[in-house]
């Protein structure tokens, strides 16, 4: 079993919602409230040592509710393994979650991208601006209800 699962189940037992093993990959779904503490623990615990954040993927699960989610892909150079940390955001209208820029600097642009394309707000982000779309753009193109063409 992945060390991350063990760590979260002992230290953040109330936060873990679901653990899925699929095609040799570990996906842990957690509640969004303490995401920063969870990320810090995963980074600093010597057993997990996820010093590296591969990517942050913003998700839109429409028509499901909760509609929005954020997926963190972490890698440990020490253990040479990965884990996907998933969260579902409560608010379907104005989704928001704590920023993890203070945990991994690379999260800065990933979070800006998720904000730009999906409209997920990252609380505490130092510079939450649009990144790929023009600054005056209206709407968030990767949302499922955003049309592919005809804008």
């Amino acid at each position: 079993m992945n060390a991350a699962v063990e760590l979260l189940q002992t230290k953040f037992a109330d936060e873990v919602v679901e653990v899925v093993e699929f095609r040799g990959e570990t996906q842990i779904t957690v509640k969004p409230g303490r995401i920063k503490d969870i990320c810090l623990a995963l980074r600093d615990d010597p057993e997990t040592s996820f010093k590296y954040l591969s990517a942050i993927a913003g998700m839109d699960y429409l028509p499901q509710s909760p509609r929005f989610g954020v997926v963190y892909h972490l890698y440990s150079h020490k253990k040479k393994n990965r884990v996907a940390l998933k969260t579902l955001l409560k608010d379907d209208v104005a989704p928001a979650i704590d920023s993890v820029v203070s945990v991994w600097s690379t999260a800065n642009w990933h979070e800006r991208e998720a904000y730009d394309l999906l409209g997920i707000r990252f609380k505490g982000h130092p510079d939450l601006r649009r990144i790929l779309m023009p600054a005056n753009w209206v709407g968030h193109p990767l949302r499922k209800d955003y049309p592919l063409k005809g804008m």
């Binding site: 699929f22 095609r23 990959e25 996906q27 010093k51 590296y52 954040l53 591969s54 990517a55 993927a57 998700m59 839109d60 997926v71 892909h73 150079h77 040479k80 990965r82 996907a84 991994w104 600097s105 690379t106 800065n108 642009w109 991208e113 394309l117 649009r130 990144i131 790929l132 779309m133 023009p134 193109p141 990767l142 955003y146 592919l148």
Partner: protein, 425 residues
């Protein structure tokens, strides 16, 4: 303001005293002060040294960079969105156009992600051929980097030498697929076709001659005083910072991070190949140059081994055996009704992977190229998140050049080896 005043005064020294930067300079407050305002300078989006449509908003104090803010998105084509509307096979041409200097590497990662989701086994021959093409692409991508990076910093000659070999690799791509930049040779479950006649010999010739050609570039730059002046100590990142900023591939290895996905999390039978992972020490532009130079030789070694392994396998065994995934052979499509139906279904209806999600990454020439593929059981991806190495590396621009000279920014952009198509997607 005092801080800025000192910077400007140092700058005056720079201009008057033969471009030498004086340290420990004291301000003479009896003299009239020079203007201490900073200047905003817009570099790009159409500037030859920004390697594509990158705009950098610079705040300058004379020639010193106070802050650098890269503005991206000029090449945003919404590939992630487009992939949600087309079958997985039809995403392949879009993948080619991510990091277009290493087109086939992107398809490699995407195919592996889909195959992982499907649980399909690719025959050994196809795996070896993929490795060979991927390593050829790595050499081509590094050659392009070498030529343009040198050119940016005033070394014109390496460009012509590097492009000479790159041209040969493009010819090899043309042999297998008919296209040069975007071969589109890989398919989900295997390859589009087997290697054509004469390919093995042409590839073998390249592999034999490349180390000798490599010496040409090495002679031109490695001990070149001007090259060292421009690259040593420029854009420094230590190993810990490199990980914090999400660096991977040669960028991280230049800082001494001993990590290569081909070795540590092998895919497509990379574990059967013997190669070294070159590492840098200082994490500066020069060390990254050395790392990429060595990587080219290592890639050549892998190609050499792959050619041997390909010869040991059965010709024609290039597709997964699952008829729901692999297209039937073309001649069968014309003569056999079952094959025709099969072909039609895969093209029109698409392949339907099971519900689930995978993250598959490969060691692309520029670093970790990741594909997060979420499927709801339909023929299209529910969501495809592409993690491009260039996007991540570019985020650290400000950190690398703050307080440095403007000309160092050009070296930094060159060493990052970014492709804006990969940054913007």
């Amino acid at each position: 303001m005092v801080h800025k005043a000192i910077l400007s005064t140092v700058n005056c020294q720079l201009l008057t005293e033969n471009w030498k930067l004086e340290t420990g300079f004291k301000m003479d407050i009896t003299q009239p002060m020079p203007r201490t305002e900073t200047m905003l300078l817009n570099l790009g989006p159409q500037h030859p040294s920004t390697h594509g449509v990158l705009r950098v908003l610079l705040e300058l104090d004379g020639e010193l960079i106070v802050s650098a803010d890269p503005d991206i998105g000029y090449l945003h084509r919404g590939i992630e969105k487009l992939c949600e509307y087309r079958t997985l096979h039809k995403c392949m041409p879009l993948m080619n156009r991510l990091d277009y200097l290493a087109g086939e590497q992107n398809n490699f990662g995407f195919c592996l992600a889909v195959e992982k989701l499907l649980g399909v086994e690719v025959p050994k021959r196809a795996q070896y051929i993929r490795v060979m093409i991927a390593e050829f692409t790595r050499i081509a991508s590094h050659l392009f980097w070498l030529g343009t990076h040198g050119h940016d910093l005033g070394a014109m000659t390496p460009l012509f030498y590097a492009f000479r070999e790159r041209e040969k690799i493009m010819d090899l791509c043309e042999m297998v697929s008919g296209a040069r930049m975007f071969p589109l040779y890989f398919r989900i479950g295997g390859l589009a076709a087997d290697l054509p006649e004469g390919f093995m010999r042409a590839a073998g010739d390249f592999v034999k001659s490349f180390p000798r050609r490599w010496k040409d570039y090495d002679t031109l730059l490695t001990q070149n005083e001007i090259w060292k002046e421009r690259t040593v100590g420029v854009g420094v990142m230590n190993a810990e910072e490199a990980l914090d900023w999400g660096w991977s591939g040669p960028m991280a290895r230049g800082s001494g991070v001993d990590w290569d996905l081909r070795r540590d999390n092998p895919y497509s039978s990379y574990e059967e190949f013997d190669f070294e992972v070159p590492l840098g020490k200082n994490g500066d532009t020069y060390d990254r140059y050395l790392v990429r130079m060595q990587e080219m030789l290592q890639a050549n070694r892998i190609v050499e081994q792959a050619l041997k392994k390909i010869e040991e396998t059965e010709p024609g065994d290039i597709k997964a055996k699952d008829p729901k995934v692999s297209l039937p052979p073309k001649d069968k499509v014309y003569t056999d009704i079952a094959a025709l139906i099969n072909h039609f279904l895969i093209i029109q209806d698409g392949i339907r992977p099971p519900q689930g999600e995978v993250y598959q990454c490969i060691e692309a020439p520029k670093g970790e190229m990741g594909f997060y593929l979420v499927s709801d059981g339909g023929p299209q991806a529910f969501r495809l998140k592409i993690r491009g190495p260039s996007f991540v590396v570019l985020a650290a621009t400000d950190k690398l050049c703050r307080g440095r000279l403007l000309s160092d920014l050009i070296a930094v952009i060159g060493t990052m080896d970014i492709v804006l198509a990969d940054v913007d997607r």
